[in-house]
Amino acid sequence: MAGRGYFVADIQLPGLREVAFVRSQVAHGRIRGISVPQTDREAVWTAARLGPFAEPLTATSTLEGFRAAALPNLAEDKVRYVGEPVALAIAGTRAEAEDVAARVGVDLEPLPAVVDFAAALAPDAPKVHDDWPDNIFATTAGEVGEVDAAAREADVTVTREYTLHRQAVVPLETRGVIAHYNRSTGELVVWSSTQTPHMIRDMIALQLGMEARSVRVIATDMGGGFGAKCSVYPEEITLAAIATQVDHPVRWVEDRSEAQVASTQARDHRHRITAYAAADGTLLGVEADILVNSGAYSVHPWTATMDATMASAMIPGPYRLHNYRFRTRSLASNKTPSGPYRGVARPAAAFSIERTIDELAHELGMEPYEVRIKNMVRSEEMPYVSAANKVYDSGDYPEAVRRATALIEHDAWRKRQRALPASARRRIGIGYGSFTEQTAHGCLEWAARGLAVTIGTEGARLAMDATGSFTLSVGIKTHGQGSETTLAQVVSEVFDVDLDHVTVSHGDTAMTPRGDGTFASRTMVMAGGATHGAALALAEKVKRIGAVLLDEPVDNTVLRDHAVVGKKDSVTYARLAKEFLFTPDHVPGVEAGLEVTHYYRPEVQTGAFTYATQVAVVEVDLDTGAVKLLDYAAVEDCGTVVNPRIVDGQIIGGIAQGIGNALLEEIVHDADGQPKSTSFLDYLLPGATEVPHIKIEHMATPSPHTAFGVKGAGEGGAIPPPAAIANAVRDALREYGTQVNETPMTPERVWTALQLSATTAEASNQATREATR
């Protein structure tokens, strides 16, 4: 708040020079040649010049039939999306680097582009990767129970097609990388705005053919990430490789128009869902056909099938669903590669199942929230193994719905809705979205999705220094989540010390034990679990030291108020540490060292399941299609709440992003694959006026599987807003039967859907009148 943040763009190094990339301006094309003016030869790097120093990274998968394609560091033969890096220029300032980059000529033969789902699947579609038989990264399928039998039994069947269009992730700070090869120490230091510093270090070492001991990655302050900064990017590998070949550090800071095409994107799902239900609203079976447009390349470590496989696993949602059949196809296209974005696939999965639950309710003339309560897993069934083989660990899902109806004052809104005159041009609707949020998954869970890197452990090192204060070093990278506070709280809890005696060190691979990073709502469970383990082990030792100094049995000691307290006397941590570290001979019988490193691995590999129900109340303008949020509430259960303000901040921030997903944000492409939303002028983000005051209630059922019973809370807020808001719009337009099955629900889309449904309604009224005549 004083302007002392320290982001990649703020770093000053002697001799630092700036990089500007030359990027593909076409979605699909063959590179015929690259021309560089003679005077710029030294400043410009192309694939040919870079090739000897860095291998491209192939993000492969263990899924059967998965087709891998290397993600080029700089494009060599073909370009496959607008924004793909082709060359780069180095100069004293960014402006000068852009001048040099502008003089690089790229001779391209444009090829027809594969843009949308239908184009990618067409039998005569152009191939994104020439040696593939089609444009499919992989297909998965499965069935649990007997869906055909459920279909025969059903009193009501609904089939709907839902589309969540493509989004940019948009951390407000774009990506940025500095690479510096220190010739005196032989160390390559890379600063990157990344959620996963240890992973970046490993992959830079491997792609550059170096030993990892010579590579250090530092993530300083970060202006958000939300998933856009947890893949390994070509820019990171390229800058690292160039730094080893030049005698100065190099920096690249992504500008916004680059970020809108070159940072990984998300969503771009189309699901066809058929649900079968009994007359009383019991959900009997679900079929899901899932298409995900994954863009041009598979990114490390997530792969191009992450979204589709996760969607298939999460569509059963919080429901007792016994008969479930799915197929997923992950498609290659001439769009920016897809990567994780807050919620990963779950906003789409929740949209599909939650919209469908509402459609069933409308068919059956029931309140949608009642259909939810009827079908949800009950607290007495916990732990519950879902149709997708996930272990739902604890909680009371139906109770969250009941509390949500109270928090939003459901009946009062229904009354206001009914009181509107038939002539009203602004209609009110109420919509619910419930979900389970898988957090902090273990290795087997990632392996099940086909990842070659099965993330799933996290390290923490806790040291007490000679003044009795604590330094906690963790492998995660906090970037706005407040993990410095919440992890310090764990130490504080074990040692009974104030938070300002604990420093949390993170983001520097040379200073922290190995960890996978901050994503997948995993930090509090995984790094919290590692911190807890380290703190317990160190506490045990501190008590033993205290016992010697106090001359009392260890069993008589407790840790209280910055001290080891015995029955007769106490010794402060400050005195204890000084005695033990300055004069170890004063503490006979205790082995040296006042620090502990602990690695955490979850016992239950499918993670800890946070759940919530969110409710939106909207006003829809029949004349313009504009949707306005009148009220919004969330009842959520992320287990034990470590820090209420931080959890609320994550939920509200997530809901704001979900509102963007629901109503505003879309990367639009034209038929040639040209993105048309590359600035904030045409890619709309929620502002202060788009996010209402959000009501939150916590339930806090501890997870039986984690330290302190905590569950992750980072992503949940962002998962159900598209579903809840779409259900509310559908409810508002109920008399027209308007289907609201696409995001973002722009005024144009809502208005058009309303016109189509009004026409259909008019036609069917006409038919009824004629039939009865």
């Binding site: 004083a2 763009a9 407000l172 921030g653 202060a688 006026t689």
Partner: protein, 169 residues
């Protein structure tokens, strides 16, 4: 490249800088004066992370040419001081009005300008007044609360001061 000389006061200190004519105020402040508290979020004048005060008005430093600020009085987040700034920073901390901190300098400068106007505003009006600054983390609830509270406290402090002055009279 056309070089120009720009004289301006920044956070109370006089500066004379030689720079390319095309240099923006943002680049001059960040690269030549080392004032990296203003951030570049979009460089299109939309996000507001680069907001600085120029002659008493909040401006987008990314869209303002340094040369256009000849003779101006510029205040950046590093120089934002006084009772209103203190109250605003305090309210931001308590209301969870920041997470990653990237938008925060711009939010504080825009919020400060609003607070100093002493115009009583309700929650919705504060939202409208702050809608020129984008935050991707917090969902704005805390920001709107914090600015609203700092505004109320600013008005209350002024009224108290006026009352005391009247009493003394």
């Amino acid at each position: 490249m056309n070089e120009i000389t720009v004289r301006m006061k920044v956070n109370g200190r006089a500066h004379t800088a030689r720079t390319a004519g095309r240099t923006t105020l943002a680049d001059l402040l960040r690269d030549q004066l080392g004032l990296t508290g203003l951030h570049l979020g979009c460089e299109q004048g939309v996000c507001g992370a680069c907001t600085v005060m120029v002659d008493g008005l909040p401006m987008r430093a990314c869209l303002t040419l340094a040369g256009a600020c000849e003779g101006s009085d510029v205040v950046t987040i590093e120089g934002l001081e006084g009772p209103d700034a203190d109250r605003l920073r305090d309210a931001f901390s308590r209301h969870g009005a920041l997470q990653c901190g990237f938008c925060t300098p711009g939010m504080l400068l825009s919020g400060h300008h609003l607070v100093c106007a002493r115009q009583p505003l309700d929650r919705e009006e504060v939202s409208v007044a702050m809608s020129g600054n984008i935050c991707r983390c917090t969902g704005y609830n805390g920001i709107v609360s914090a600015v609203g509270e700092a505004l109320e406290r600013g008005i209350a402090a002024e009224e108290a001061a006026t009352a005391t002055w009247n009493d003394e009279e």
